[in-house]
Amino acid sequence: MSMTQHAEPAVGTPPAPGRKESDGRTKQRPPVLRLLARPEVGVFLGAVAVYVFFLIAAPPVREGSAMANILYQSSTIGIMALPVALLMIGGEFDLSAGVAVITSALTASMLSYQLTMNVWVGVVVALLVSLGIGFLNGWMVVKTGLPSFLITLGTFLILQGVNLAVTKLVTTNVATDDISDMDGFAQAKKIFASSFEVGGVQVKITIVYWLVFAAIATWILLRTRYGNWIFAVGGNKESARAVGVPVTFTKISLFMLVGFGAWFVGMHQLFTFNTVQSGEGVGQELIYISAAVIGGCLLTGGAGSAIGPVFGAFMFGMVQQGIVYAGWNPDWFKAFLGVMLLGAVLINLWVQRTATRR
């Protein structure tokens, strides 16, 4: 469903005129290999392997409610992994993404509580704040030309400190107050944190948003001019600029997209748990980035897809919950997770190497 920086023709596109099939140098590789060379195929196979593994090892996984729980865990990672992946395809990445989620939730919660406003006021202001943080990240990266690692490491630390200090200043505690009895809460909860029943199984709405966002991101990447710009600025910024791609706009908007994701997940957390602790979120940025990398997005930019990170996030959720469903010794929890993920990345690498060899 995706393309790489080498502008591989999309499936179904007729060969360019003037290019003869008979010319040995341009001879197309077999379709199976071409399919395997796609960035998301490796992770897809990895995800299937992990899924089948736990299906055998952990009997409760076979039930629908377990799958709903695994998918819920995956979706809270996956919704953020999507914009993070797009940003990485665009050649940058964002270390502040984890704490930005909490910043957004804290903003919405404290604003509505302290001013005794309808919670929707907080939700809207939080969106503006999140987009603003994204804009600032992008603007600084583009204007200074410094690596996004440094810029967003800075904002990561700033946000971490601000989250704590401002919460303490405003609420005199380090957690926000419970807003569940305020106007607009029930409505916002319906939108950001409700669940519905499918065949007797409670399904969380974030799963739907996750898949819809993934579909939109895929469409943007493959079918729009903006999608081409993302690949172009990630592949080679200077040549992209030379052929008229608005590099500044593309990069800043990608950072703002991460801001949007942070807002969305932040609202989900706020309306699920009613209060937010200001110290949360640290370390989540690495999980989002891992999901994107496992999903086939290169750390160097210019390649990747939107569907890959969906499988990447699914693998995280599957492994994390699968260990618990299997009832294994929890002391080994993190080690299991690491082995599984390394294994997935290796499968990914091997599949791609085999497919592109020749």
Binding site: P60, E63, I70, T172, F273, G281, Y325, G327, D331
Partner: protein, 339 residues
Amino acid sequence: MDSSSPFRSRRIAPAVALAAAVTLTLAGCSSSSGGKKSEESADGASAGKASTPQMTVALVTHQSPGDTFWDIVRKGAEAAAAKDNVKLVYSADPNAGNQANLIQNAIDQKVDGIAVTLAKPDALKDVIAKAKTAKIPVVGLNSGVSEWKNLGLMEFFGQDETVAGEALGNRLNSEGAKKAVCVIQEQGNIGLTQRCAGVKKTFSGTTETLYVNGTDMPSVKSTITAKLSQDKAIDYVVTLGAPFALTAVQSKADAGSKAKIATFDLNKDLTSAIDKGTIEFAVDQQPYLQGYLAVDSLWLYKNNGNYMGGGEQPVLTGPAFVDKTNVDAVASFAAKGTR
């Protein structure tokens, strides 16, 4: 000039309109329930102020930022400092080496007393010896109940985590529980491990440990859900912090489990959950008291030469059970964030 005026008004008018619209919208968006307006005006504990000359006390903990528990410890310390005319210098770092540096910093400042937490006692041994050489009294609080005397501390205020765990285990027995899961939110934390070990020791049913990622609530929620649906025999979930207990309530609903929930440590949302009956009980180690007594003891030592616990025994601040029978008395203090 004529040509510019329509231009200017065209720019200003929408701005004014927008500002007016925003103001009106915001005014119309007030919440009629909840929010700060409904919060009762809460006064902090105050008991006058000592006329003794000002002294400086350093409180150095292993707090990680943004944790509600430590905030309560600090509030207790601040209340005692205000009462005793003490200048309180608070600093914290979860990394033991950094915590040692902060204690050295306090020694260099020539403070009149130091209160420390002993989460990793070995790392603090040398620097505490230095404080002794500098003739600065040092007291311990919160963690290190078995090490404080070896390190030469004057007094200790806190809960014996193992004792607290054992108390909770006994309580589970009397509630008739058969299988408990003990949820640890931070892997490798000694105090948390001791709590679960204490539960395991006295609880006559079976105890399992479950590790969750405490910085990511959605994952805490789904991991507990997974555990509850994997093992239907679990009839008690024991969490080691108030926010995790509240999350476990949702996990329980998601998993369709009948397990009951108990926890260590309190906060204001937890007291209302106990009141509503969604959480059975909490073991409170009274963090406010730990901070308060640590500072107050240094003041008493300086001004009257007193030792609490006689310098031999720790002063235990827990385990104090909070359940439906006494939650009302605790709730108003928890609402202020001091209990």
